[in-house]
Structures are given as structure tokens and as C-alpha cells.
Symmetry: C2
């Protein structure tokens, strides 16, 4: 048996740092325990709420505010929400935090150095960005403002997915967002 | 005691027909019974999800799709949703219906004749539209495609707010969307 109260698990970090992978792993664990929730992935949101927006600061902020609005609706209805958008600007993250409520907003900084991201470059985007073929690419040609005091910081250069997900999961359990009753044998 | 399962109560109709009034009355009744829910009012959504969109058919459809996306998320998490946007075009309403699921989408046509709306004209918008001062005004200079087989039709020229809300409420109860256990004396 498991239960959850409403919260927003807000992953932020550079492209390729591991936000979606981690979001998917947490989603899998919630699902496994029968805990209903929603994942607001950057791409899904851009398709459904933000088609037409570009990557200027203003457009990125608008996109983040929309994710924040939907996360707020779900969170206050006690539905856990996981977001996984780069969300590079600190000010709008703080704006979303205060709308959702500080006690329900869990900022998770998914960090990895640029060298490592360029080395991984799963989608080949960094190579293109470094060649100047993609404008406004966060971390290369656009700023990323790292969280100053995130609730959780994950360094995906040294922690693998299971270790990272364990950190996040422990936070949720220890802070009472999730109540899990494990079988007596565990 | 009262309970609800997820549904979307989708009010559609011309400006001034009474969508918001009726939405507010249903919201009040749900609140009174402790049933959590969300109201996605046209104006709230335009501010939070659709700033920058205009009133062309394409922009209106985009706005409605966004409302539909959010309604879908909430509905599948078992949160009742009430929407109150004009939503003039049939095709996109049907698109939203099929995304949310026919069995959870309740279309409520809030009808009133143009003569009556021009007579009421609470916000003075019809007068302006008729003078040509507002472009793309639904019912005057823009089409409104009435539902062909709405789950509920309310004629606000002959039914007052309480009667109208009773109709909607009875539908919700009779179709098992809301379970109300009245005190034994009733």
C-alpha cells in the first residue's frame, strides 16, 4: 500500500543531464506502487500548451509559467506532478515555487558538467550547438542559472540512475509526501 | 458525505448566455459538499495558458485544445473539471471529447437567443460588436456551431440559475459522477 499527497517534483538542468531519465524512473516507482501522478515532460508541454513559442527568454519563461500553472492545479488537487523541462531561469522557477507553495515544490537540480554533456551528446545537439547550428542552446549559447538552494542536487557524473532515484525517493518518503507500507519481511 | 469521480463538465454557448454563472453555481454546490474540483474559466485560461492568442478560428481552436489538455489531465486523475469557454467550433469540441473519453465528457449547451443576449448585454459587448467595434465576436461577426446532441441543453431564457443547476446536478448524480449521501431525514 502506498499513498501520496500533492507535490511538484521540479527537475531542472541542462539538456542531456538526465532529467527525463530520472523523471521516468520516479514515475515508474510511483506507478509500481499504484500512486497516480502526472509527468509534464518538456516536449509534451511544448506540443500541447506552447506550440509556437520559441527559445527567447520571454518564450521560455512563458512555457515554464504554463507548466507551473498546470502543476499548480494538479498539486492542489493532491496529484503528484513531475516536471522535466530545462527551466534555465531562476526568477521564473521561484515564481512557480511561490505559486505552488514552498512546502509542496521540490526543486531537483540535475547537474552534469558541460564537458561531460558534450562527451555524452546522445542526440548530437551539443555538437550542432557548438558549431553554431542551433541558436539559443542552453549551456552553449544561452545561459543556465543553476539553483542556489535546491531541495535535492543530483550529480549525474557520479551517481547512476538508481542511486539518483533513491535520493529523490528517500526525500519524498522522509518528508511525508509518500507513505509506503513495505511488507513486514523487508 | 459526497464523492465524485473524474469528469469534465463542458459548458458551451454564446457570450452572456450564462455559462460562467452556471459553472459558478455548480462549483458552489460541489464545494459545499467538500468535493474537490477545478473551474477552467475562459478568462483564467486565456491569462495562464493562451496569452497572445487572438480570436481567429485557429487561435480559438488552439485555446480550446489547451483547455482540453488540462481538463484531460485532471479528469483522468479523478478530479472533476468545469470549463466555461464559448468554444464555438464543433470539430474541436469533438476532438476534446474523444481525448477525454466520451463517457467522462459532459457537454452542456447553454443556449439563449441573440435577441435576448443583445437585450441583456451585461458587459455592453453586443452593442459594440453590432456597431462593428469588436471583430470576430461570436454570434455577431463570427460563427457559433451549436452542439447537435449535447448531454444537457439549458435554455436560459426560460430556466433560471437554480433550475438550470438542478438539471446539471441531477445529471451528475443520476449518471453516478457524484455520490451524495443525504442525511436520513431528507
Amino acid at each position: 500500500m502506498a499513498n501520496a499527497k500533492g507535490f511538484t517534483l521540479w527537475f531542472t538542468g541542462l539538456s542531456g543531464a538526465g532529467k527525463s531519465t530520472l523523471a521516468d524512473e520516479i514515475s515508474r516507482r510511483l506507478h509500481e506502487r499504484g500512486i497516480g501522478h502526472e509527468v509534464l515532460d518538456g516536449d509534451v508541454v511544448r506540443t500541447n500548451l506552447s506550440k509556437g513559442l520559441g527559445f527567447s527568454r520571454e518564450d521560455r519563461d512563458t512555457n515554464i509559467r504554463r507548466i507551473g500553472f498546470v502543476a499548480e492545479l494538479l498539486t492542489r488537487s493532491e496529484i503528484p506532478v513531475i516536471t522535466a523541462a530545462i527551466s534555465p531561469y531562476r526568477a521564473v522557477r521561484e515564481e512557480v515555487r511561490s505559486r505552488i507553495g514552498t512546502h509542496r515544490f521540490i526543486e531537483v537540480y540535475v547537474a552534469a558538467g558541460l564537458d561531460e554533456l558534450v562527451r555524452r551528446d546522445v542526440k548530437g545537439l551539443y555538437a550542432k550547438a557548438l558549431r553554431g547550428e542551433i541558436a539559443n542552446f542552453t549551456g552553449v549559447s544561452d545561459p543556465y542559472e543553476a539553483p542556489e538552494s535546491p531541495q535535492i542536487k543530483i550529480d549525474t557524473e557520479v551517481q547512476n540512475v538508481v542511486e539518483s532515484a533513491d535520493r529523490v525517493w528517500d526525500y519524498l518518503v522522509n518528508h511525508g509526501f509518500i507513505t509506503v507500507e513495505e511488507p513486514a519481511t523487508v
